[in-house]
């Protein structure tokens, strides 16, 4: 196998490792639109990365995190709904990205790559960043797993019981920003949220516990990356969309599985 194919496969698997469990929380916490809003910051991040001569993944991560913090702070005002806020900020930051890109010849050439992902261009530095992110995400989730579950189940209850709710929420946004930054390298800004939520949604019917769902989501993500990449090389179709289509196919198939989970009889 060619080196670039191995790097692509490795990068895709790394991104799926990070996205699997984080995707479960996005699905549990109903944050799909939040993720989409963060993904809109990718373009601005890439452009600023070129401008400041830093790795696009790092720049995208920083911009996503900044946007997430803005959302967290703006959420505290009680007049505009979170839904509308996400719409405002997502498009503002996307428009800013387009304006900055308009000034830059080099980025315009690569624009398609960042909108739709370019898994075959994954380099060694990208691999380090992707697997570093996957390691940090996995470690942080393991460290704060039950607090994250508690905050997801009921924020008030968690706060009353002494869980540092604000810190946990920030930690999660930090991880989500990381996942979006590495995911955009694989499937691109327009599809990165699919890489996060589709495997998690497909995993629901295969799991009886939160942990099983996180593991199943990761496995589905990895399988989608491998199969999508293979199909894309076989038929010469774009890899990012192929990966997302495979994941969506698995999701559709999962709907045929009866919901697993402890039955009411075994109590």
């Amino acid at each position: 196998m060619e080196d670039f194919v191995l790097r692509a496969l490795g990068g895709g698997i790394g991104a799926a490792l990070a996205a699997g469990p984080v995707g479960c929380f996005v699905v549990w916490r109903r944050m799909a639109y939040f993720g989409t809003a963060l993904a809109h910051a990718v373009l601005l991040g890439v452009a600023l990365g070129f401008l400041l001569q830093i790795e696009p993944i790092v720049a995208v991560f920083a911009i996503c995190l900044l946007l997430a913090v803005c959302l967290l702070l703006l959420e505290r005002q009680r007049v505009i709904s979170v839904d509308a806020l996400l719409g405002v900020l997502a498009h503002a930051v996307f428009a800013a990205g387009l304006v900055v890109v308009a000034f830059m010849e080099r980025v315009r050439v690569d624009l398609i790559g960042y909108l739709f992902g370019d898994i075959l261009s994954v380099g060694v530095v990208d691999l380090w960043l992707i697997f570093g992110t996957a390691a940090v995400v996995t470690a942080a989730l393991a460290w704060q797993w039950s607090n994250l579950l508690a905050v997801t189940l009921n924020q008030d209850l968690a706060a009353a019981e002494g869980v540092p709710v604000e810190r946990i929420r920030f930690l999660f946004l930090f991880l989500l920003a990381g996942v979006i930054a590495v995911g955009m390298k694989i499937v691109g800004m327009l599809l990165v949220v699919a890489l996060v939520i589709v495997p998690a949604a497909a995993a629901r019917r295969m799991a009886a516990t939160p942990e099983q769902m996180a593991v199943a989501s990761t496995a589905i993500g990895i399988a989608s990356v491998a199969a999508g990449l293979f199909v894309s090389l076989l038929w010469d179709i774009p890899a990012g969309p192929a990966i997302v289509l495979v994941a969506s196919g698995i999701f559709a198939a999962s709907l045929l599985i009866p919901v697993r989970g402890p039955s009411r009889e075994d109590g």
Binding site: S146, L149, T152, L157, E161, V163, M213, G261, D266
Partner: protein, 271 residues
């Protein structure tokens, strides 16, 4: 040393205390200079009409909301058990009742079932959390709170989904466990029957504290009467007289009214 709750909780330092707490949502004042304290072994009940700020005050005391002014003091390392009004559950998260109950405070299955039995819950530990009924969920929440061996139990209209007869059983149970374990209880309730039957201190809230004191004293307070109406005041004064009395050593009934005549303490601020 004795382990038993002190007879007169008013001497103990409060487990939790709010001092001059005010909170506004936008231009609307929700809480206005509210003082409230809960001591070990004491059941404090918050009453008030809809929109009086009861749940908001609970959330401030629990540290969920930050007050605009005033302060909330918790005794250091306070273990809190909280039973919210209701808890939404989403079937998208696969989780069992057992896992939910032990999240953050692991316990063997036997202990779980014992606490669940105590609050009259069915054997539902293995069921998906999203599939149990609202009444079952409230019992699970109460059992979960008790499992944490709290020093302060906070219940926000906790038994709305439970039918009326089991409600009074559950309130009696809460009072029982309070007697055994000596924790403080902060309760929001709409049901004045229950309030009058098992409460040490009633706090009547209408954004500010209208009046506070023993149930009987609060019933006769002019602000209570103007809020809830003369009729209700009389109904419960009679109810209390007929049903709530203690016996002294000689078997003579000692109604709460036989205690030194006590006026409800008017709250600091009035409009």
């Amino acid at each position: 040393m004795t382990g038993a709750p002190s007879r007169d909780p008013s001497e103990a330092a409060p487990l939790v205390e709010a001092r001059g707490v005010s909170l506004r949502f936008g231009r609307r004042s929700v809480l206005d200079a509210v003082d409230i304290a809960v001591r070990a072994g004491e059941i404090v009940t918050l009453i008030g009409l809809n929109g009086a700020g009861k749940s908001t005050l609970i959330r401030v005391i629990l540290g969920i909301l930050e007050p605009d002014s005033g302060e909330v003091l918790q005794s250091p390392g306070l273990r809190v058990g909280y039973v919210p009004q209701h808890m939404q559950r989403d079937p998208v998260m696969p989780i069992t009742v057992e896992r939910f109950m032990t999240l953050g405070s692991p316990a063997p299955r036997k202990a779980l079932q014992r606490v669940l039995d105590e609050v009259g819950g069915d054997p539902i530990l293995g069921h998906p959390l999203a599939e149990i009924s609202g009444g079952e969920m409230q019992r699970v929440l109460l059992a979960r709170a008790l499992l944490r061996e709290p020093q302060l139990l906070v219940l926000d209209e906790p038994l709305a989904g439970v039918d009326v007869t089991s409600q009074s059983d559950l309130y009696r149970l809460i009072a029982d466990i309070r007697d055994r374990r000596g924790f403080g209880v902060l309760l929001v309730s709409h049901d004045l029957h229950l309030v009058m039957a098992a409460t040490d201190t009633v706090v009547c809230l209408n954004r500010h504290v209208c009046c506070t004191g023993r149930p009987q004293a609060v019933l006769r307070h002019p602000e209570f009467i103007s809020l809830f109406g003369q009729h209700l005041s009389e109904t419960f004064a009679v109810y209390q007289h007929a049903h709530d009395h203690r016996h002294d050593a000689l078997g003579e009934p000692l109604s709460i009214e036989a205690d030194p005549p006590e006026q409800a303490r008017p709250a600091g601020r009035h409009r």
